[in-house]
Subunit: 298 residues, 2 copies
């Protein structure tokens, strides 16, 4: 029965690099042949590194979508408030949520942790580099990508916003939409909860180490909150990338979502030509597209 | 900062049961007030129980979509071939995959484990109880529910098929579309990989214990396969529900997806009226709908 172990494996095996005559390139072909100018490095000043018990989580920040929150989160990280933070919640097929470190009841928390910020749920879409997908979306007139971030756009109001795809990071808040400030963050660990779009401030996406959040034991309290502090995973340290030595940073390049290579990649993912697929989909959901990465070449 | 801990929590807190005048009911209201005839119990003859190290996984089978594979899987379970099975793969944001027990190299495997079945990728949609959603879908002309299973439909060909939503269970195969038989199964543990729709035989969905699959450590081999047998979680036993004592079965009722209550529930999830939401979505993705359950009442 060992041949079965191949199973789903085959569907993603990269084919040989040279394209056969008349065979459209697969997504693996396109990634392998994408020119150097289709790739970018992560901006270390907009990258956050969290150290969890089982490994590191790297978040690419999205100042274009939430400038005030991103600035506040970077300040909290740089002032050490996420060191000794805790993952307080893990709800299956929804989110993992973490917080800055706790203070004793008799110690007043610094203002940066308690002062709420105004919501940043959407931004003006005018003159933004939005790469639109051709497919229908149940939640928005248009879906696509901006700077590597999955997003949606509404022409009527000229607004755009990040979409709640797997691995996206948002700001916890209470019922008041202007009550968050980034001292609690969550990452989506399940199917995209797109109903949260335009209801939450989104500040980035996990680009490495997502498995260290997604495999955390689920909390047994309401909505996946942990019931005891002992269950909470410890964030032993947090850094902004440019406070780390260059060789301690994540060494990857990310495909530019405004490149021809990315457009070709999306088209190849919409209609897969790998032999495994007897019926290519001919369409794609914005949250079913992973932006390609490759090892950093320099 | 403790008030922040409420954060996302509030968005799902059930409101009081009596509806305020002029306030449309929330999904929690609808679940609480759904009449008894809007609920069904699981059919024990089409329910499979797997025992994993951290707890049980319960799968509702879908004979309407894959009669030959479901019959084969039930026979494999009842003949004990999934006892001492192994989870062989866990790929982040994709699938967990498991297999019947391994045989020594010098022992011939029983024919039931090696004989392939013809694909059951789609079925005739004529006269099927398809509850269609009103929203656009990137992968199919129509999405909706049949017997509690998320599905899609194409009128032109009068076909329907299960959609690859979180928790759905499918049959592993090699490149040959007629090479599977149910001796390897996978469950979706991430964002819906809908490009697999109509390319795989889908046999059911996990109705309890999904966290015991979704939190498994990710495999470090290609495509999330485990590299050593020691990493593979053991399936200590597997049973069809009617081979278990009634009180050992999962005691839940599932909302009928052909009921008015379910239609109301979906509408309430499309446009949420809970105070947390400043902008209800006004649309919904078929894979972002959880079919409600409640404790069994008898």
């Amino acid at each position: 029965m060992r041949w079965f172990a191949l199973g789903l494996l085959l569907c993603l095996t990269p084919p040989p690099l040279a394209f056969a005559q008349d065979t459209p390139p697969t997504s693996a072909d396109i990634i392998a042949s994408a020119p150097d100018d289709a790739w970018r490095t992560l901006d270390p000043s907009n990258t956050v590194y969290l150290r969890l018990p089982d490994g590191g989580v790297v978040i690419e920040l999205a100042p274009r979508f939430a400038p005030a929150h991103v600035a506040n989160i970077k300040a909290m990280v740089q002032q050490g408030f996420f060191d000794d933070g805790r993952v307080i919640r893990s709800q299956d097929n929804y989110v993992a949520q973490w917080a800055t470190r706790a203070f004793p009841d008799d110690v007043e928390e610094p203002a940066i942790l308690t002062t709420p910020l105004d919501r940043e749920f959407e931004v003006n879409a005018t003159d933004q580099p939005f790469a639109a997908l051709p497919d229908a979306d149940a939640y928005a007139p248009e879906a696509g990508f901006v700077d590597g971030f999955a997003a949606a756009r509404e022409s009527e109001t000229s607004t755009m916003w990040m979409t709640h795809c797997y691995g996206v990071v948002g700001v916890g808040r209470s019922t008041d939409p202007d009550s968050g400030n980034g001292s609690q963050l969550y990452a989506v660990t399940g199917h995209a909860p797109r109903h949260l779009d335009r209801n939450m401030t989104m500040i980035g996406r996990v680009v490495a180490g997502m498995e260290h959040l997604s495999t955390l034991p689920r909390g047994t309290g309401r909505l996946g909150f942990y019931e005891t502090p002992e269950e909470q995973a410890i964030i032993s340290s947090a850094h902004v990338g440019n406070d780390l030595a260059p060789d301690a940073r994540l060494q990857i390049e990310v495909m530019r979502t405004d490149s021809q290579a990315f457009r070709d990649y999306v088209m190849a993912r919409r209609s897969r030509t790998e032999a495994f697929f007897v019926r290519p989909a001919g369409g794609i959901d914005v949250c079913n597209i992973s932006v390609p990465t490759r090892p950093r070449s320099d």
